[in-house]
C-alpha cells in the first residue's frame, strides 16, 4: 500500500497530455452513429494517429509490435485519454482488446506478423464470433462446426451479438472441431479461427437493439472455407486460447468508462443544481452515494492493475468483482440521470437517455451478472459447484 508514481510515469503522463492537447483539436467531427462506414473511418483514423505517435499497443509485448509499457502506464494512458475527451476505441475494440491480445499471446511469429500490425495501424477491423443462438452463458455448448478438408476447414453455423460485423475485415471465430459427445468435456472440442469476413458463404444480418440502433449483427456461415494456418493454437484447444482473451476483457477494458462515470456524475450534479432538483436531499444523497461507488470502481481498477503488475500476468478473478459492481453502478447512474432529467428522461434524443438504454446491456454482456456470481462463489469463495 503505497503511492508509487515513478518519475518515468509522471513524465509519460506529461508527454501524453501535451500530445493530446495538440492533436485533439485536429480531429474531424464525430460521425453519425448510424453511419457505419463513417464510424469505421473515424475510429481507424484515430488509431492511426496513436500509431504514428507511438501510443498504439502500448502495453502489448514488444514481440507483438507493442511498446512493452507497464500496466500503470497503460492505466495512465486510458485515464488521460478519457479525461481529455479523446475518441474511444470504437470499431477497434475487438482487435485491440480481444483478438489482438489473443494472437499476441498464442499466435506463431508468422501469425503475429500477419495480423497484429494492421490492427495497431488501424488498417483492419475485427469482430467477435463467440455467442450463438443456443450458446450464450453456456458458451462451451456452441455448435458452429468446422470440418477439415485438406488445408482448410469448412465452417457452417451461425453467430449472434457480433458487434461491428458489417464493417469488419476479420472475425475471431470459435468453432466446434469435435462433436459434442458423452466422453469428452464439451469445451475440449473447440477451436479458434481467424475468419475473413469477405469469404464466400458469410452473410451478415444487422440486429436492432432496444435502443433502436443496430449495434450488433447475426453472422451466418454456409460452408465457408478457412485455411488451416488461420487457426490460433492447437485444434480443440480454442477454449483455453479464448480464456486468455476474456481475462483481458474483464481487466482494463472498462477503464475509460469508469473515468467517464465520474464525469457524467459531475454533469448530473450541475444539471440538478441548474434545474432545482439539487434541493431534494433524496436525490442529492443518491448522487453522493454514486460518487462513492464510482470511487470504488476506480480503486478496484487500480487494484487489479497493481495485481497484474505484481504477477506480471493478465488481471485475475478480481475482474469478476469489478465487472459485477461496474455493471450495476452504470445502471444506477442512469437511473439517477433519469431522475435529474425529469420529463426529459423520455426524450430519446438526449445523450443520457441513449446511454440509459445502452446501460441495460451491462448486466448481460461479457458474462451475465448471474454467471459472474457463480464464478465468484465457486472460484473465489470455493463454494461447492452448483447446478
Amino acid at each position: 500500500m503505497d503511492l508509487a508514481c515513478t518519475e518515468d510515469e509522471e513524465d509519460f503522463r506529461r508527454r501524453l497530455r501535451a500530445w493530446l492537447a495538440n492533436v485533439l483539436p485536429t480531429l474531424p467531427d464525430r460521425p453519425d452513429p448510424a453511419d457505419w462506414p463513417a464510424r469505421r473511418a473515424y475510429d481507424c483514423g484515430w488509431q492511426r494517429m496513436l500509431y504514428d505517435a507511438g501510443y498504439a499497443g502500448l502495453h502489448w509485448p514488444e514481440n507483438a509490435g507493442g511498446r512493452g509499457a507497464t500496466p500503470t502506464q497503460h492505466l495512465i494512458f486510458l485515464e488521460e485519454t478519457e479525461r481529455a475527451g479523446a475518441p474511444y476505441v470504437g470499431a477497434n475494440f475487438v482487435g485491440l482488446l480481444h483478438a489482438g491480445p489473443t494472437i499476441a499471446a498464442e499466435g506463431t511469429p508468422a501469425q503475429r506478423a500477419r495480423w497484429l500490425p494492421p490492427i495497431l495501424r488501424g488498417d483492419q477491423v475485427w469482430c467477435q464470433g463467440f455467442s450463438e443462438p443456443d450458446a450464450g452463458s453456456d458458451l462451451a455448448s456452441l455448435r458452429t462446426r468446422a470440418v477439415r478438408d485438406g488445408d482448410s476447414y469448412l465452417v457452417s453455423g451461425s453467430k449472434i451479438w457480433t458487434s461491428h460485423a458489417e464493417i469488419a475485415d476479420w472475425c475471431e471465430l470459435l468453432v466446434r472441431t469435435t462433436p459434442i459427445n458423452p466422453d469428452t468435456p464439451k469445451h475440449r472440442g473447440i477451436t479458434w479461427l481467424a475468419l475473413p469476413m469477405d469469404a464466400p458463404g458469410v452473410t451478415v444480418r444487422p440486429l436492432r437493439t432496444l435502443a433502436g440502433t443496430a449495434e450488433f449483427a447475426e453472422v451466418f456461415l454456409d460452408e465457408v472455407r478457412v485455411p488451416v494456418d488461420h487457426r490460433i493454437g492447437a485444434e480443440n484447444d480454442g477454449w483455453r486460447v479464448t480464456m486468455v482473451t476474456l481475462s483481458f476483457e474483464r481487466g482494463t477494458a472498462f477503464v475509460g468508462e469508469v473515468v467517464a462515470c465520474r464525469r457524467v456524475l459531475e454533469a448530473l450534479a450541475r444539471t440538478a443544481k441548474a434545474n432545482g432538483r439539487w434541493d431534494d436531499p433524496v436525490l442529492r444523497r443518491r448522487l453522493g452515494r454514486l460518487a462513492a461507488d464510482c470511487a470504488a470502481l476506480w480503486r478496484l481498477t487500480q487494484w487489479n492493475v497493481s495485481e497484474a503488475q505484481r504477477t506480471g500476468g493478465v488481471p485475475g478473478v478480481g475482474g469478476s468483482v469489478f465487472k459485477l459492481r461496474f455493471s450495476e453502478v452504470r445502471q444506477e447512474l442512469y437511473e439517477a440521470a433519469a431522475e435529474v432529467l425529469g420529463p426529459d428522461a423520455l426524450d430519446a434524443g438526449h445523450e443520457w437517455v441513449a446511454d440509459r438504454l445502452s446501460s441495460l446491456s451491462y448486466t448481460i454482456a461479457a458474462g451475465t451478472s448471474q454467471i459472474q456470481r457463480n464464478i465468484v462463489a465457486e472460484r473465489i469463495l470455493g463454494l461447492p459447484k452448483g447446478r
Binding site: R13, A292, S306, R310, V321, L381, G386
Partner: protein, 333 residues
C-alpha cells in the same frame, strides 16, 4: 487524484497484520468474546490486562513518532490493525484511545488508560449523544466544534444516563450536550482531522467485520447440508455469498485508498461503503445461517449489532453522502 496507488501490502504491513491477528486469536479468542456477552452483567467491564497488552504491542502508540516512544507508522498501518480488531469483534474504545494518545493524553499510549469519545459536532444545540464504555473509561476525548480536549470521565458522569445497549459488548451512555460545559479551548483546529481519522479507523473495523462475515457464511454454507447437498451448492445461497464478497472488496478498495490519501472525500466514501458492507454482510450472513443465525449462541448477531453501532459513529451515511455530493460541485457552495 491522479496518483497511482499500489494496493499491494509491503512485507512489513503483512507482518503487522498477521502479528495483530495472531495476538488477538491468542488473547481474545472466541471463548473470551462469549464470556463478555454471556456473562451475568451485560458489558461486564473491559479487560484492563488485555488493554495494557494492546498498549505494549503498540496498538495505541502506532502513529506516534518513535522519538515520542511510538511506533512511527501511518494511517495505512493503523487501518490494517483496526481491520483485525473489527474482524475479532474486539470491544472497547480503540479508536478514541489511539486518537487521544496522538494528542498526548496521559497513559493512553501504553494502554494503562481507557479513553472514550464524545463528538458534540459543530452545531450549537445538538441532540443527545451516545458514549461507549463511559463507566469503564478514565477519560473522554471531547470534540466540540473546531476544538478537541481530553477530560476526566467523571466530568460527564453526572449528565450521563446508562441505556440498555443493543450490542452486549458495547455499553452505552446517553449524554445531553448542554450538560457538558466546554472547557478552555485546546487543540483548536484539531477536531476536523480527528473526525476524519476516526471515521476512517471506524470504517477499517467495519471492513474487518464485513470480511469476517463473508468467511462465516461460506463456512456455514459448506458445512450445512439440506436436500442431500451442502446449501452452498444452491445458486440462491451462492449468489448471496458472492454479493457479500463484492461489497467487502469494494469497501476494502476505498478504505485502503483513503488510508493512503487521507483526503476527506476518500474517507467519506470509505465510511459509507464500509458501513454498508458491514451491516448488509452481517444481515446476509444471518440469512445464510438460517434458524441458527437468529440465536444468541451464534456470533452473527454480534457482528450485526456492532456494525449498527459503528455506522452511527463519526460520520453517518447521510453525512457522508452529503459530503460526497458537495464534492461533485467543486465551484459552488
Amino acid at each position: 487524484m491522479t496518483r497511482a496507488v499500489d494496493f499491494q501490502l509491503t512485507d512489513d504491513q503483512r507482518a503487522l497484520r498477521d502479528g495483530t491477528r495472531e495476538l488477538l486469536e491468542r488473547r481474545f479468542p472466541r471463548a473470551r468474546l462469549r464470556t463478555v456477552v454471556d456473562g451475568p452483567g451485560v458489558g461486564a467491564g473491559l479487560d484492563r490486562a488485555l488493554w495494557r497488552e494492546l498498549g505494549t504491542a503498540g496498538f495505541f502508540a502506532l502513529r506516534l513518532p518513535e522519538a515520542a516512544g511510538g511506533v512511527g507508522l501511518g494511517l495505512p498501518e493503523a487501518v490494517l490493525v483496526m481491520e483485525e480488531a473489527g474482524r475479532a469483534l474486539l470491544p472497547g474504545p480503540l479508536v478514541a484511545t489511539q486518537l487521544a494518545a496522538g494528542l498526548g493524553a496521559a497513559h493512553a499510549a501504553d494502554g494503562s488508560a481507557v479513553i472514550t469519545a464524545l463528538d458534540l459536532g459543530t452545531d450549537e444545540a445538538g441532540a443527545d449523544r451516545l458514549v461507549e464504555h463511559l463507566a469503564e473509561a478514565d477519560a473522554v476525548l471531547v470534540l466540540n466544534g473546531e476544538g478537541a480536549e481530553v477530560r476526566p470521565a467523571a466530568a460527564l458522569a453526572d449528565s450521563a444516563r446508562r441505556i440498555r445497549s443493543v450490542d452486549p459488548a458495547t455499553p452505552l451512555h446517553r449524554v445531553h450536550p448542554p450538560a457538558v460545559t466546554p472547557g478552555a479551548a485546546r487543540n483548536t483546529g484539531a477536531a476536523a482531522r480527528l473526525r476524519r481519522e476516526a471515521a476512517l479507523l471506524t470504517a477499517a473495523q467495519q471492513l474487518g467485520s464485513a470480511s469476517r462475515t463473508v468467511r462465516m457464511a461460506v463456512d456455514h454454507a459448506t458445512a450445512r447440508s439440506q436436500f442431500g447437498r451442502p446449501i452452498g451448492a444452491f445458486q440462491a445461497v451462492q449468489h448471496l455469498c458472492a454479493r457479500m464478497l463484492v461489497r467487502a472488496e469494494s469497501a476494502r478498495s476505498v478504505v485502503y485508498a483513503a488510508a493512503v490519501t487521507g483526503e476527506a472525500g476518500d474517507i467519506a466514501a470509505a465510511k459509507l461503503l464500509a458501513d454498508e458492507a458491514a451491516v448488509r454482510n452481517a444481515r446476509d450472513c444471518l440469512q445464510v445461517h438460517g434458524g441458527m443465525g437468529f440465536t444468541w449462541e451464534a456470533d452473527v448477531h454480534l457482528h450485526l449489532k456492532r456494525a449498527w453501532g459503528r455506522a452511527g459513529q463519526w460520520q453517518t451515511a447521510a453525512a457522508a453522502e452529503e459530503e460526497l455530493a458537495a464534492g461533485l460541485l467543486p465551484d459552488s457552495c
